[in-house]
């Protein structure tokens, strides 16, 4: 076996019979034969073939694997709509305190007052940031928040004796929006984008009727542009009796500057793993709390964290309120991703009112600076901005001229960026823009790292002018090169075959 193959063995391929890491406590109780405890037909005959590996090998194995990952702590990660901002380590420390980490979710509320108060404080903070009075922390991620919002909309209309069937969303919306619409039992209707990158009002006017339950929007939208007509849009939807839903994926642009509630939104989800610094973990965990207006409040998920005044001078107490007769019910087990709440609340405390506003300012400044840098020279020529106006926290370039003139696609540029030590932007999204690259630098990058990224793009384009094959075959320096995704889908191998 050569060294290369050694690197990619799975933990199962490192298994040797008889090896182990765990030492368990003694049972301390009689060794009753299992058949006397459980009927024999309900017992397992052969244990699952888990790996047999000692602790030093487990540690080496996963450390080796870790080196085959690129991560935010190593380099620039301008992944559009994902808000890859720095994850403060203080948050990990406070989340790991036993009072948080080893607290059972069914602990009696009177013995979990700190946790319930933290949740209540986070609810209040998010309500203020969103400009909507009521918050449920329950949804587990953004898409879960979307589903919650749509089920809330359904409950709201049902309560009024209405049954509506359609949900509107722009053609630039995140894929989760239409997927959530289907799961909530509605039909999606796409709304067109105007030449300034916002919702096309005439198209919207044509599609809004009393069948429309909701309009789902991101503002700033996935082009990184603030929709200047939002007040008019909100008016149209509300006049027709629908709700206005805010996909909070892009909230990082407007914290402390503009609030979805003030824009007319009824329901907002917040991605704590984007704007509020919960680490992404390679694909989770996240959390997707929702903030809602008064008319939606009666339908919020159960249980709800509430503050009760004591009346006897001993100060307020906190509780879980299950007595919510109009509630849509539970969306998940227990109270939500509390560990994420701890991190995000620590983040909000650290930054404070001034810091949150400054974070958004810097995010917008960084995006506009990088956009300006990429409007120069080769990038400006081959990768024009899709909608040429000041952006908010992100912007979208089109690789269409690059593909035509240089023969390299957006995918090739993205793969070549890997050789330069950068995570590529989000590619081929939004669908509206051909060969799209969506760039979100976030506020936690320095001017130097933005410049280095712009320089790398220029260098790749210069190289492609000479030799487009270089990019088309990239990457070269990564642990593996381009992978055969077709094979993985046609004949999927999704687990280790064992003897």
């Amino acid at each position: 076996m050569n060294q290369q193959d050694e690197q990619v063995l799975t933990i199962y391929e490192r298994s040797k019979p008889g090896r182990r890491a765990a030492v368990l406590p003694d049972a301390e109780v009689p060794e009753t034969p299992l058949e006397e405890l459980i009927p024999a037909n309900l017992l397992r005959s052969e244990p699952p073939r888990l790996p047999e590996v000692a602790e030093p090998e487990i540690v080496r194995h996963y450390n080796r694997l870790s080196r085959r990952n690129f991560d935010l702590d190593t380099g620039f990660y301008p992944l559009g709509s994902c808000t890859m901002k720095h994850n403060p380590r203080l948050n990990e420390r406070v989340a790991a305190l036993p009072g948080h980490a080893r607290l059972h979710p069914a602990q009696q509320p009177q013995r979990a007052q700190g946790a319930l108060e933290l949740m209540w404080l986070l609810q209040e903070s998010l309500a203020e940031i969103c400009g909507l009075p009521h918050v449920s922390l329950q949804p587990s991620a953004g898409s879960h928040g979307e589903l919650a919002g749509l089920l809330l909309t359904r409950a709201y209309h049902a309560d009024r004796g209405e049954a509506r069937t359609k949900v509107l969303a722009p053609d630039t919306s995140h894929g989760t929006n239409p997927a959530s619409v289907t799961m909530a039992g509605y039909e999606i209707v796409k709304v067109a984008t105007d030449e300034r990158g916002g919702v096309e009002i005439d198209d919207l006017r044509e599609k809004v009727d009393d069948e429309v339950a909701c309009l789902m929007l991101t503002n700033p939208n996935t082009l990184g542009l603030f929709d200047e007509n939002i007040a008019e849009i909100a008016g149209l939807i509300h006049e027709a009796g629908g709700t206005l839903y805010y996909d909070g994926a892009n909230l990082n642009a407007v914290m402390g500057h503009s609030r979805p509630g003030d824009m007319g939104f009824d329901i907002v989800h917040v991605n704590l793993h984007k704007s509020f610094s919960q680490p992404h973990g390679g694909g989770g965990p996240g959390a997707g709390p929702i903030a809602v207006s008064d008319r939606i409040e009666p339908f919020l998920p159960r249980p709800q964290v509430v503050r009760r005044e004591s009346g006897n001078g001993s100060g307020p107490s906190f509780d879980l309120d299950y007595d919510r007769p109009k509630s849509i019910g539970r969306l998940r087990g227990f109270q939500g991703n509390f560990g994420v709440f701890v991190r995000s609340y620590a983040y909000i405390l650290s930054l404070g009112a001034d810091g949150l506003a400054e974070a958004s300012e810097t995010a917008v400044l960084n995006a506009n600076y990088l956009k300006a840098r990429l409007a120069e020279g080769r990038a400006g020529k081959h990768l024009p901005i899709a909608f040429d106006r000041h952006c908010m926290h992100e912007f979208v370039l089109s690789g269409k001229p690059m593909k035509k003139d240089l023969g390299i696609a957006t995918l090739d540029l993205a793969k070549r960026l890997l050789d330069f030590g950068f995570h590529p932007p989000t590619v081929y999204f939004p669908l509206l823009v051909e060969e799209a690259l969506m760039v979100e630098p976030t506020e936690t990058e320095t001017k130097e790292s933005l410049d280095a990224f712009a320089d790398a793009i220029d260098q790749i384009l210069a190289e492609a002018e000479q030799d487009p094959e270089k990019a088309k075959q990239a990457p070269y320096t990564t642990p593996v090169r381009r992978l055969d995704e077709v094979k993985a889908t046609r004949k999927p191998v999704v687990r280790q075959p064992l003897g």
Partner: protein
């Protein structure tokens, strides 16, 4: 930077926000704090919680106080696992993708089903996700039959989702701690998309899944079984009992309690269901040089490609939590995993017997149990819990709210952290509390009248 952009101030960049929509005041939040101050603030909140270091915890109900080995924390706190996004660029995400592949292998082994996904949010919403899959897999049937033995949170979550699916949920009752087989057989019909069971069920009993599942098979419905991943070293796995889908709450594997999350849900199924499954699935493949590598397979199921036609809306899920489980399972290993299952069974049997010997405590049912069991108390459950709590014991989970028919019921969970001595203490504390409530003991010993105690 402003010069490069061609503006004089950052405020100019915000000019695209119409003036009436600009917040003309600072957010009504405190000013920012130093790291030390934030730490103190959060530590003060944490100190007001009775965690499992302060109280001996016999509460389970789906989440358990297991020991998480130190290497789990050491590995999942590495930047390379903690801070990347979802592995959309596989060339620089091989570590995370291979970890997913190993996770899927482990879950497939545990459940004895051939296909596992990379994970969902947590247990209860995974049940709703299985029901959603069942609608598609049965060509649009919209009825679910669910046992009352399934976790109340799962049933409530299913009911919430079912409104969106336009589906009906029929609940089947229990008899002596087990799903009522006759009622179940009668409830399943040709419109039923899925029969949903849990084993061990919420009252701790090990169900005969194979026998119960026959009704599903007769009517062409999917058999969906929620399982406890800490019991599958000893209990017959769902894949050998005819389950089409096995899923569950993953917290017992490598994840801390965290007051309920984040944890993860696992989701395993039959081969033919793979293209209908929710969420991410890692698959093995080769790169252009023929080297082994891993990618996100079957992405055409997912929302970012298929949009409204996706099999599910899930995007960010619980990758890091699934990695914790993968490491924990490697640490336990084949033998350790089985031994732990045996230990839980035997200690639970001891605890059940020990508690049943306490005057005023009797088993709620006689069905076989694995790691959790229900008892009936001859005193108000909340008062007994309060008295035990004052002695530093979280005695269990009261059944009354979710099972009004068991107003006097208490669910007691055992982990490898609950020693024999602690179990004996629990028995003594329960006995003393029940006696005190019965008035045989001076009630005022604790300094509180019964009315003053919640």
């Amino acid at each position: 930077m402003l010069a490069a952009i061609g503006v004089d101030s950052v405020a100019e960049l915000f000019a695209q926000v119409p003036e009436p929509l600009r917040l003309d005041r600072p957010l009504a939040l405190p000013e920012g704090m130093s790291e030390a101050e934030v730490y103190e603030r959060l530590a003060a909140l944490a100190a007001r919680n009775a965690d499992c270091e302060e109280q001996v915890c016999f509460i389970g109900a789906g989440m358990y106080d297991h020991y998480v080995p130190a290497i789990v924390d050491a590995i999942i706190q590495r930047s390379e696992f903690l801070t990347p996004y979802t592995p959309y660029q596989p060339e620089i995400s091989q570590g995370g993708l291979q970890a997913m592949f190993e996770f899927q292998t482990a879950m497939s082994e545990l459940t004895a089903l051939p296909v596992a996904t990379a994970g969902l949010y947590e247990g209860p919403s995974s049940v709703a996700s299985a029901a959603y899959l069942a609608i598609g897999a049965t060509k649009g049937r919209r009825r679910f039959v669910v046992s009352r033995g399934v976790h109340p949170h799962s049933r409530e979550t299913l009911a919430t989702y079912a409104v969106g699916f336009g589906a009906e949920v029929a609940e089947v009752g229990m008899e002596d701690g087990l799903t009522d087989a006759a009622e179940l057989a009668g409830a399943v019909d040709d419109e039923t998309a899925a029969v949903i069971l849990q084993s061990p069920n919420f009252l701790g009993s090990v169900e005969d899944v194979e026998a119960l599942g026959a009704a599903a098979e007769r009517h062409g419905a999917l058999l969906v079984v929620a399982v406890d991943p800490m019991t599958l070293g000893v209990l017959r796995p769902p894949g050998e009992c005819g389950a089409d889908i096995a899923l569950g709450e993953g917290q017992p594997l490598g994840n801390r309690l965290d007051f309920g999350g984040p944890s993860f849900g696992f989701f395993c199924g039959a081969e033919e269901l793979i293209r209908k499954m929710p969420g991410r699935i890692a698959g093995e493949t080769d790169d252009v040089d023929g080297r082994r590598g891993f990618v996100l397979a079957l992405q055409t199921r997912e929302q970012h490609i298929r949009r409204e036609k996706a099999t599910h809306n899930i995007c960010t899920a619980q990758a890091l939590n699934a990695l914790a489980a993968t490491i924990h399972l490697a640490w336990l290993g084949r033998e350790g995993y089985r031994e732990l299952g045996e230990l839980l069974l035997r200690r639970t049997a001891y605890a059940r017997e020990r508690l049943a010997a306490v005057p005023g405590v009797e088993p709620l049912h006689e069905a076989p149990v694995a790691r959790e069991f229900a008892v009936r108390l001859d005193a108000p459950v909340e008062r007994v819990l309060e008295r035990c709590a004052e002695r530093g014991i979280a005695a269990g989970y009261p059944l009354g709210r979710e099972y009004p028919e068991h107003e006097d019921g208490l669910l007691v969970a055992i982990t490898e952290r609950r020693t024999r001595a602690q179990i004996d203490d629990l028995a003594e504390a329960l006995g003393a509390a029940i006696q005190a409530e019965a008035g045989e003991f001076p009630v005022h010993k604790t300094g509180k009248s019964p009315e003053g105690v919640r």
